[in-house]
């Protein structure tokens, strides 16, 4: 299993007594520790380069459970984000965190376990609602699990709830913690997938397509429900063959019946992200497509290009299995209809559609 290089631990005042911090110190006995103040400003260069080899322990005082920052301008899935940390040791060139975060380092919220009770209260106050919760929005759900042991306490916690599922989204093959756990109920293990070319050129330090899918196969065999996310779809000469290849690998190793959902989302970015990416990855060609300003201010591929990509990839996926729970991430009603042949029309209906997938797959 891949272990990422950590050169120092930054211990924020207040985090030193948190259980997660103590566990990490035990896992990394020979790594230098620097005690830092929570409000200490990081050097600008560290912020820009993201300082992915420093692990910062933070006694987090913010909200651990928050709705996904979607947009009212497009149809969103009503996902909830469990904030376990920010930043990730891998280095995808297109990652939105490059312009989103204003602090460097791999930031781990060391008091997470203690705050799960608060999440419990939130979930319990809406017993009829299904909470689809994920940890893979601001970090990779599994890349640091070998240090943090997130799966050790998140799996038992969410498996015991009635009205929620936890989705662990990753680009790694770090599944050791999952496999050794005895909890399966309400847990979705999901992989972000792309073409071999995009993985090789843009998703630096991540697992290859095959390794991801082999890890997914292992999880499936171990009884986990799976999810897959083709996001971001990137338009480049030969993209059709690339995504065809990705689906073929899925087809070869994965049983489609226990897939809860497959999402499709095209590459989109805020204007300042382009600057950050071009600075960090000179010569990058992912901006060569025809991007226009979307309704939410993000740049997206011109609509007919998005439709063509969604239609072709979804058609191929449906050919493999026609009940994969396909959905589009942050798209409009007309794009849904033209791409998938149907539309949930609004975010509430998309939520219901995905909640029904939860009911269907988790009840089985």
């Amino acid at each position: 299993m891949k272990q990422f290089k950590i050169r120092r631990i930054l211990m924020e005042k207040g985090a030193e007594n948190d259980s997660l911090a103590k566990k990490i110190l035990k896992e990394l006995p020979n790594i230098p520790i620097e005690n830092v103040e929570p409000d200490e400003l990081a050097p600008r260069e560290d912020i820009e380069e993201m300082d992915k080899q420093s692990l910062r322990m933070i006694h987090f005082n913010g909200e651990f459970l928050k709705p996904c920052p979607g947009t009212r301008k497009y149809i969103c899935c009503g996902y909830q984000i469990l904030n376990i940390g920010i930043n990730c040791p891998m280095d995808c060139s297109y990652c939105f965190l490059q312009s989103y975060i204003n602090q460097p380092s791999l930031r781990i919220f060391s008091n997470l376990e203690y705050h799960l009770k608060v999440i419990d209260d939130i979930i319990d106050t809406s017993p009829d609602r299904i909470f689809r919760i994920g940890t893979g929005e601001f970090t990779d759900s599994l890349s640091l699990d070998y240090l943090t042991g997130w799966t050790d306490f998140l799996l038992p916690f969410f498996s015991g709830r009635k009205n929620c599922i936890l989705e662990l989204k990753t680009k790694t093959s770090c599944i050791k913690g999952l496999i050794k756990s005895s909890y399966r109920k309400n847990i979705v293990v999901a992989w972000s997938l792309n073409t071999p070319r995009i993985i090789a050129n843009e998703e630096h330090k991540t697992a290859s397509l095959k390794r991801r899918i082999l890890a997914a196969q292992e999880c499936q065999k171990a009884g986990f429900v799976l999810g897959f996310h083709f996001d971001p779809l990137i338009n480049y000469p030969g993209w059709e063959d690339g995504y065809e290849e990705a689906v073929q690998v899925l087809e070869k190793y994965i049983d489609p019946e226990s897939i809860i959902w497959v999402s499709l989302g095209s590459f989109r970015y805020m204007p300042n992200l382009k600057r950050a990416i071009k600075r960090r990855f000179p010569g990058i060609d992912i901006f060569d497509g025809e991007f226009v300003t979307g309704l939410d201010g993000k740049f997206r591929y011109f609509k007919p290009i998005r439709v063509e990509m969604y239609a072709k990839v979804s058609e191929r996926l449906k050919k493999w299995y026609d009940d994969l729970g396909l959905y589009l991430c942050m798209e409009s009603d007309d794009v849904w209809k033209k791409s998938l042949g149907w539309s949930p029309k609004n975010s509430a209906n998309l939520c219901s559609y995905l909640d029904n997938r939860v009911r269907k797959l988790m009840a089985e």
Binding site: R44, E45, R279, P282, D285, F287, D288, E290, V292, T293, G294, L295, R300, F302, K303, P304, I305, E308, S332, D333, D334
Partner: protein
Amino acid sequence: MVPGLEITMPAGVGIPFAARISFDSYSNSRILSPCVDSNTVDTISQDSTCQEEKAIVSLPKIVLKYSLLIELGTILLKVSIMKKRLLKSSPLHVEITDVDLTPGPFCMSFNFNLEPLKASIGGFGILNPPYLLRNSDDNFTVVAGYRRLLAARELGRSDIVCQILPDDFPPFEALLLNLRDNLVHRHLNSVERGMVLKRLTRFLKKEEILTNFMHILGIPSNKQTLDLFLGLEELEDTIRISVATERLSLRVAGLIRGMSRDDRLSIAGLFICLKWSFNQQWEAIQWITEIASREGCSIKEVLDEGEFTQVLKNHRMNNPQKVKAIVKTLKARRFPSLVEAEGLFKKGLSNLALPSRVRIIPPSFFEGVDYRLEIAFSKGQELRAKLAELSHLPGLESVTDFWKGIAQR
């Protein structure tokens, strides 16, 4: 913070920041603040050197930017400077041919007009002597007064009186001397500021330059900007001149620095031969580089194509028309599907025969789904007539489909 002498002056609340400070004009001070009122200097010459050992110093609020330490909030104004040391130099008649007049290690002059200085020197002589250092060839290196020497040479002078600095005069201090001399009385163009920074790197770490010099030069203090300025000296003269004269955007210069020489000169040529706004340059350079990347060719190859050269050679078009035509061509190549969709929509509308002064406006980039109908009218009756005409207009149902069905390239 530079360790140095602290000068404390009493000042009352509300009293303007003005004080008498004694200091020698060529001390090794790093304060780099104006030593005399710039108007006074301007009346001496365009390229003069502060010569007075004691000067009345006006400290307007802007000095805050220059000084290394100013504490407000008390009645004390503190200024930290390095220890004072009298500058020792000796006057000497120097043959101009004995002076190395290539831009040397202390030079920070680029793309200047010598004529006003020649007129001044022609009329009154050199009021403030250049400062020189003797070099290893027993000739002289210019510390300050580079342009005065050039002007004198152009005026046919064979020798002038210069001040010769001691042989052990530290080069870093010589550089500061010239920098301060320049800063007090003139604006340095971007290339000149780059020259200053480049020369400072011989003596200082980048961090030190960022902290102590960027703001003095009026440049945002960050590493990227420092690197941008440091790289200017590597660029070809045509490009540097365009940057110095603000014909070419500094940002664009930074971007083209990483390109091959052919690409760089080709793109700079396009921006220099026509007058583009900096925003237009920035947008165009993005499109050109992305077109080259999309089409797998070089920037030079993109720009050498007939469609651009035809526009440039078209004598019936004026400058803005040429820029507009080039932008249009670039857009069509950068966004072929979008431009095709826009064309189809326009064509569809033109076939509709809309009433006069009626417009249908599509959503931006066709991203939204709402189209707008705009009717200009001066009387209610006119509005009613236009609405009636519109309600019977065949083909209106297809308005939102005009642009669809385009093939992706």
